[in-house]
């Protein structure tokens, strides 16, 4: 079991921890609902050091990533990031990731913790013929996120060599973070404005402690993976292992925009993905009209029918909206907003309605949203 460099601090903060993707991670501190609301109204501090960090450098880095991934990182300006997929040759999703461009020939790819090794192996194999070097820095890099409307004020005093307020949404830059050399990005997974701070493993405790100490005056609290999950679900963001699997395609997940079929050169999965661009089912948002909470794995039916037409991939009671929300795959005929279905919850069925995603959208957007 891996432990992040902040494990002792989490323990001192009274965190409840659990194994997640091979890591002992904080699930909650003050409580999931309290932490969730803190991120929506002030800001939360997250230890995401379990995430992977794969660096690609060399004259062929852009071409290599364009071949390995569904997007075209060659089109990224230096100091910009984008969301991408790495697909199997079948078109199924191997992982979703964020690609950051820090230089002409220098990129960072951040996969999910649970997929880090398979993504690293696939990237190693797929980029072998290119003038590029892959450096897996996952176990030497800590990732600390500050997410919420107060994030700019909280992060700014600890940044040298860059101006957080001037960093655009999905912007990234090298910077000195609480005295440590690192990378600052205006990215996140909560539906709020915020930053992700990539710092050396040994600097993580100092960065975390400095942020928490000065951020408390702005309402900053530590937030665990429990609230991270409810936050991303309200924001309609898919999670690998739930909405995204080897058996789902980016088009079914509504992520066709990150599959650049027209980019120059071949890429892994292209032929299969080109044939999947018109899916027969789609990822939808659902709200329950009856009492109850839909959970992952619960089957979905048309009223009165006995054969399921879909399955819930994630579900919770939305702390912000006060209703039960879920994501699910449904056939196109049932996937339009307003469509009514039934979800089997234990012994009974609850009525649910297809609603637009995301369930929650923050009222003010940082500029230059991409």
């Amino acid at each position: 079991m891996h432990r992040t460099p902040l494990a002792a601090l989490h323990q001192a903060l009274g965190a409840r921890t659990a194994p997640f993707a091979g890591w002992e991670m904080p699930i909650q501190y003050s409580g999931i609902v309290d932490e969730h609301r803190t991120v929506r109204t002030a800001a939360g501090l997250f230890d995401l050091s379990h995430m992977g960090e794969l660096w690609f450098t060399g004259a062929g880095a852009g071409d290599a990533l364009a071949y390995a991934l569904t997007t075209d990182p060659r089109t990224l300006a230096i100091g910009r990031a984008h969301y991408a997929m790495i697909c199997h040759p079948t078109g199924g999703i191997l992982d979703d990731l964020v690609v950051y461009r820090l230089g002409e020939t220098r990129f960072l790819v951040v996969p999910n913790a649970g997929n880090r090794e398979t993504v690293a192996a696939a990237m190693h194999a797929r980029t072998a013929g290119y003038a590029v070097t892959m450096d897996d820095r996952s176990l030497a890099t800590a990732l600390i996120a500050v997410q919420g409307p107060h994030a700019v004020e909280i992060v700014t005093p600890h940044v040298a060599g860059a101006d957080p307020a001037a960093l655009a949404y999905y912007g990234c830059t090298d910077a000195v973070l609480a005295g440590a050399p690192g990378m600052l990005a205006r990215t996140g997974y909560t539906g709020e404005d915020g930053f992700e701070l990539f710092v050396p493993w040994e600097a993580a405790a100092g960065v975390w402690t400095a942020l928490l100490a000065s951020g408390a005056a702005h309402g900053l609290k530590p937030v665990g993976l429990g609230a991270r999950d409810t936050l991303r679900l309200e924001a309609g963001m898919p999670l690998y292992g739930q909405e995204l699997t080897a058996d789902t395609t980016p088009f079914e997940a509504g992520l066709g925009r990150v599959v650049k079929l027209a980019k120059p050169g071949d890429f892994v999965g292209r032929a299969a993905l080109a044939a999947q661009a018109e899916p027969t089912r789609r990822l939808v948002g659902l709200t329950l009209r009856d009492r109850g909470i839909a959970r992952a794995g619960m089957p979905i039916f048309l009223a009165g029918e006995e054969t399921p037409v879909g399955m819930v991939t994630s579900g919770t009671s939305s702390p912000t909206l006060g209703v039960a929300i879920a994501m699910a795959y449904l056939p196109l005929a049932q996937a339009d907003v307003g469509s009514r279905v039934e979800i089997a919850i234990r012994e009974s069925r609850a009525a649910a309605e297809v609603v637009p995603l995301p369930f929650y959208k923050r009222s003010t957007q940082p500029r230059n949203r991409t």
């Binding site: 409580g31 969730h36 909470i293 234990r346």
Partner: protein, 126 residues
């Protein structure tokens, strides 16, 4: 950690308050703290039958579902309907306002197999 005397406890962290052959059932404060942030309680209707050791409902947090297991067998004669609007009563007052159901026991001898407060404290490792 509150473990009141005079109640009986199951290994699944339910409590039972006996009054003749009528039993009131809830979950312990320990269980409520483990669930945390209780947002929904799924209980059967009056007239439903419980079987000792079998699931009869669920308590849900934003994160997870926890099944409820019947500490005794019987027929439900009353359900705490106030929990529909205030499920947090279970966290705030597990042994009082947070009670779940009242049952008429069908096999009163079953209660003898439950733990007393001291036994439950040992079960929790206290």
């Amino acid at each position: 950690m509150s473990i009141p005397e005079g109640l009986q406890y199951s290994v699944e962290h339910e409590w039972l308050r006996l009054d003749g052959d009528i039993g009131t059932i809830g979950i312990t404060q320990y269980a409520a703290e483990q669930v945390s942030d209780i947002v929904f309680v799924d209980l059967p209707a009056v007239g439903a039958t419980l079987t000792q050791g079998k699931p009869f409902g669920a308590i849900e947090s934003v994160k997870a579902v926890s099944e409820l297991f019947a500490p005794v067998s019987g027929t439900i004669i009353e359900v705490n309907t106030t929990l529909g609007d205030t499920p947090e009563a279970i966290s705030n007052d597990a042994y009082g306002a947070g009670w779940l159901v009242k049952v008429k026991l069908s096999a009163p001898d079953e209660a003898a197999g439950l733990m007393d407060a001291a036994g439950y404290a040992r079960h929790l490792g206290q």
